[in-house]
Amino acid sequence: MRWPRALGLAFVALLIAAPFGLPAFAMTLLTELVILGLFAMSLDLMVGYTRLISFGHVAAYGLGAYASGYMLLNTSLPLPFVVILATLLTGVIAIGVGWVCTLATGVSFAMLTLAFAQLLYAIAFKWTSVTGGSDGLAGIPRRAGPMGLTLLTTKTGFYYFALACLIGSFLLCRKLVASPFGAVLRGIRENEAKTVSLGFNTRLYKIAVVAIAYALGGLAGALYAPFAGFANTELLFWLLSGQVLIMVIVGGSGTLIGPILGAAFFLLLEHQLSSVTEAWALFFGLIFIGFVLFAPEGIWGLATGWVKRREKPLAKVRLRD
């Protein structure tokens, strides 16, 4: 399986080179794709590696976005610090969320995550002095610093910052799922009762993975607020939770890279279709149904399947030796 690695490196090289070749709006879109990809990837830790389906992952995104928006508007902390603080804050709050949600399993777990997301939505709506209520926070700046560093305030600089966050998080997640911790997560995914009977306190592992997934989701939100310049209740709306889950599944859950591609696919398809026809949602829906029927393993499954099919003849030759 050297193909994916080579492909991956080539892809990263392309992403790094992108600002030198692409026009302004393409870069705007690409930055948003990077952020959304990070958001989807964070959910994959729960959905793909632990089979903890969440209907409320938007809580992480919104929390990160509001936290970073509030800090950028009301403190003089430089952007990178704000983003790190917002990420940590989301992770810490997620420990509590995870503690409660893991009391249940299956659909009940999913609904508990939804309950927290909706309560957060209600808080964002009502706590006007901090969140701006229904208007939200607007005019969020990309503040310079630390030490007068203005690189991150520019469009290209911010893109690289977001890209670095994505790649860093990706490497972190890959280490995580390949670690002993990750092996236990896979055990929980395949058979939680058995994992418990082997002597693992699975609840602690689940709380930990919820905290990590939320922290990374919070990182995505913390990047979105200064990217778009606003944070409002729409970033906590339940529909986005459903959409990010769709991104993970369409991309191919349990692959980390798949959900990133899924997010890109989702956003680009929506963007392109809706500029062609008002009835875009119809085609959007049909495409998802088609995906389930014809590409059950998602985009990444399609891609690697294609590579494998190309490799097969080689394998046969080796066998004959």
């Binding site: 995580l176 670690s179 911790f181 058979n191 418990v196 009977s197 693992f200 306190n201």
Partner: protein, 254 residues
């Protein structure tokens, strides 16, 4: 009955009620170190519930379980396992998409104090793989180690379950009907492998089984449960001769 002081597992007055139904009724028994004890009884006698009570999957209504002198009653399942009691399940419980080796490795990993390491973990994996590999070897699964567990034969799946428990190098091995659902040939093969393993390893084992032949082949001592209560306790020969046991077994079938 063995002397209580020497017992590795001491069960006293263990009871579990589900509403009006008493699944396990005031069961007391002691298992000494190195002993292979079978718990037998007709279907519905409460054998599996007894296992669940010992391993913490089900909380008892009354009574106590002591292990190596410590009261482990009501501890969570994972904590009991961590003390050295590893079990198998009546219905095969594996990680079907992982290979047999990965199954055994994960089982062994549970005994490593750094089992939770969120990065790296080379040492953890090396140790676990060694213990897991050894367990597979002991139970004759080395040849199929790299196949997904879900694709193994039924007999091999049962043995893999045992191997996973063995990989944890447990003080006590609890086997819940290791031949359940197997054909005659598969049963013979599994029993053969198990008896060879048990003789070699000198592990303490608690075995639930309803197949008498299996029990007589493997166990040193036998406890007979009927409707949740102990009706006989002793060597295989003594139990075989016990009139109440024969009655219960015949009665259980009717």
């Amino acid at each position: 009955m063995t002397d209580a002081g020497a017992a590795l597992i001491g069960i006293a007055g263990l009871t579990r009620r589900y509403g009006a139904l008493v699944a396990v009724d005031n069961v007391s028994m002691d298992v000494g170190a190195g002993e292979i004890r079978a718990v037998i009884g007709p279907n519905g006698a409460g054998k599996t519930t007894l296992f669940h009570l010992i391993t913490g999957v089900v909380k008892p209504t009354a009574g106590h379980v002591r292990f190596a002198g410590e009261d482990i009653t009501g501890l969570p399942a994972h904590a009991i396992c961590q003390r050295g009691l590893s079990r198998t399940f009546q219905l095969t419980a594996l990680f079907p998409q992982m290979s047999a080796r990965e199954n055994a490795t994960l089982a062994a990993q549970a005994r490593n104090p750094r089992r939770w390491l969120p990065f790296g973990g080379g040492n953890v994996f090396t140790q676990a793989r060694r213990a897991g590999g050894a367990a597979l070897e002991l139970l004759g699964l080395a040849g199929v180690a790299d196949r997904p567990a879900g694709l193994l034969s039924h007999g091999d799946q049962r043995l893999l379950e045992v191997a996973m428990a063995v990989a944890q190098e447990p003080t006590v091995l609890l086997l819940d009907e290791p031949t359940q659902g197997l054909s005659v040939e598969e049963t013979a093969q599994v029993v053969e492998t198990l008896s060879r393993f048990l003789e070699q390893s000198h592990v303490t084992a608690l075995l639930v089984e309803h197949d008498m032949e299996v029990v007589f082949r493997l166990a040193h001592k036998i406890t007979v449960l009927h409707r949740g209560a102990v009706i006989a306790d002793g060597t295989p020969e003594a139990v075989k001769a016990d009139a109440r046991v024969q009655e219960a077994y015949l009665g259980g079938i009717e």
